[in-house]
Symmetry: C2
């Protein structure tokens, strides 16, 4: 899982976006169009982690997540190519991002989500004027419906895991984080990113190249798609357990993410549900940031890195689209836990 040889590099070489330079280019192009989200330091979380954390607050990004990055690049390209409309499947944030980007370019958009998608995410998509279709809970059910829309309406697919613009765009969040830490005099030793379908980890692998930065992948114990793929030597579909991390529910890692991760991910940390819930509350109480459970999964992993720990760790807080009711109940549970300690 180290080195840069292998199919990952081969894949990357095929497409200019899927290189370190492609990610840097995405970062530069997006810097003027999106929010350069802050990197937040927090002594209390550093204390709990036993190392220093740089928290990339993409919960403050337009659309509430880093997925806005890739969507904006992909929609821009399709709009330039005369697209009639766009279609995408997503557990939520990619859909919000595509809907918003499509609105910006005046393109119609259809978004396919699982039936158990977070209501606030569905509302955000509709608020951007896009059409929402719900389809089952498994990735395969959503991709089947996306194919129908493509065929029937002649819309262009924006794949959340394989589209090279999307992967480069998602990677730009990590590139920006590395750059912001460096501007403050810190060379990060590692970055922790959450793993759903794999665009964040694929992008992070590209962004971290040549920096000597270890990429650490965080995934819920309930949906360990990357760990299972790495053990199997190929992407495999895993049973989807119950997880609050709705953004990390894809039950299979993309081929692209797998190939990059196999060669370039230093470590996979699987996170139990209780630790995701606790990390969400700790981010709120200590760093004063509301993050969604997917982002909390990355923070939870950073809080439980085995020793010897990297000395300067970037954490991709990927988004902040979370149900207020879930936050209230997690916070109540956190406070009860504090009392009983």
């Amino acid at each position: 899982m180290t080195g840069t040889a292998g199919i990952g590099t081969a894949v990357a070489d095929d497409l200019p976006q899927l290189t370190k330079e492609g990610v840097e280019d995405a970062r530069r192009r997006l810097a003027e169009r999106l929010v350069t989200t802050p990197v937040v330091r927090c002594e209390a979380l550093d204390g709990l982690a036993g190392t220093r954390l740089w928290l990339k607050a993409e919960n403050l990004q337009l659309g509430g997540s880093f997925k806005m990055r890739g969507a904006l690049l992909a929609v821009a390209r399709l709009a330039g190519d005369g697209s009639r409309g766009v279609v995408a499947q997503s557990t939520g944030n990619h859909a919000i991002a595509v809907a918003r980007a499509a609105r910006e370019y005046g393109l119609p958009a259809v978004l396919v989500l699982p039936v158990d998608a977070a209501p606030t995410k569905i509302a955000a998509i509709r608020a951007a004027g896009a059409e929402v279709v719900l389809a089952g809970t498994a990735l395969a059910e959503r991709t089947a419906l996306v194919e129908q829309v493509r065929t029937a309406r002649g819309f262009d697919l924006i794949d959340p895991y394989l589209d090279p613009d999307v992967v480069a765009g998602q990677g730009s969040a990590t590139a920006e984080l590395i750059r912001q830490a460096r501007a403050e005099g810190t060379a990060l030793d590692a970055v922790v990113v959450p793993v759903g379908g794999g665009s964040a980890v694929a992008g992070a692998c590209l962004a971290a190249r040549g920096h000597g930065i270890r990429v650490i992948a965080a995934e819920p114990l309930a949906v360990p798609a990357l760990g299972a793929a790495l053990r199997a030597g190929r992407p495999v579909t895993v049973p989807v357990g119950t997880t609050i991390a709705d953004g990390l529910r894809p039950d299979r890692i993309s081929t692209l993410a797998f190939e990059l991760a196999r060669d370039e991910v230093a470590q996979v940390v699987t996170v139990p549900e209780a630790a995701i819930a606790e990390a969400l509350c700790l981010a709120l109480v200590h760093a004063r940031l509301l993050v969604e459970p997917a982002a909390a999964t990355a923070l939870a992993a950073a809080l439980r890195l085995p020793a010897p720990r990297p000395a300067a760790v970037g954490v991709l807080l990927s988004g902040g689209n979370v149900e207020p009711g879930l936050v209230a109940s997690l916070l109540a549970g956190h406070l009860q836990g504090e009392e009983s300690r």
Copy 2:
């Protein structure tokens, strides 16, 4: 309440810190030592406000509030003058800030707080290695105790409302906000700041000079110390009603703040408790920022500005030191309110 003539200017002219240039100097000196907190935009809050808001996220400042600014400048000066130790009274944030600044300069510190101070604030002061003394609930009780400590131990007072370094430091938050908005191409028309003892509003008046920016003061209906002073034509002690905005409980505005506000504050908005609670939840849910009730008071005022509204409004989100239990209960109330709508 308009123009820059009067005693406010006279006061300011006596001390180099209490000028627009003094605040700019503070901003420059602090930029290297503190966090340049982000200015957060939020479409949903803009929609609720009926205008565009620039939210200065000083809840992400070191020590959890903008009070770190003034304390650091004041302690630096005293340490340079050979101080034996520092003492201050505060409802919480100034005390945290002085404790942290004193630790940085190796000075002992005694902080006097009301008996109903927020437990997390007391814990933060003790964590910085300072001594905490609790004294009644009224400002006069705390100032009496501060005098005892000064006399008995020869410590230097850092007044939270009158110390010119403190006022200039607090003003640097507004100066930075104005500058950050301008860097993004926006000339703010107004800034909304919360009013407790008055250092924020005094600093904001100085920072806003010459920019054509209206200073709007936000205070809880339960402790309307500035409004009462402006009506009386002098600072008066008001009865302290029950408010969740623990940072805004001082029952009397400082002479300095009164004189500046009388001449330079365009508008005072008083905010009922329910609106403070709601604004705290709206900041959390929409802007993904955890703020304390004092900061929420400023946001609440910005959300209820009477028409015609200024087109670009800066809001000083002064801090994020809030009891998690209070957040949980406010959020639960907010969600019940949403359901019943």
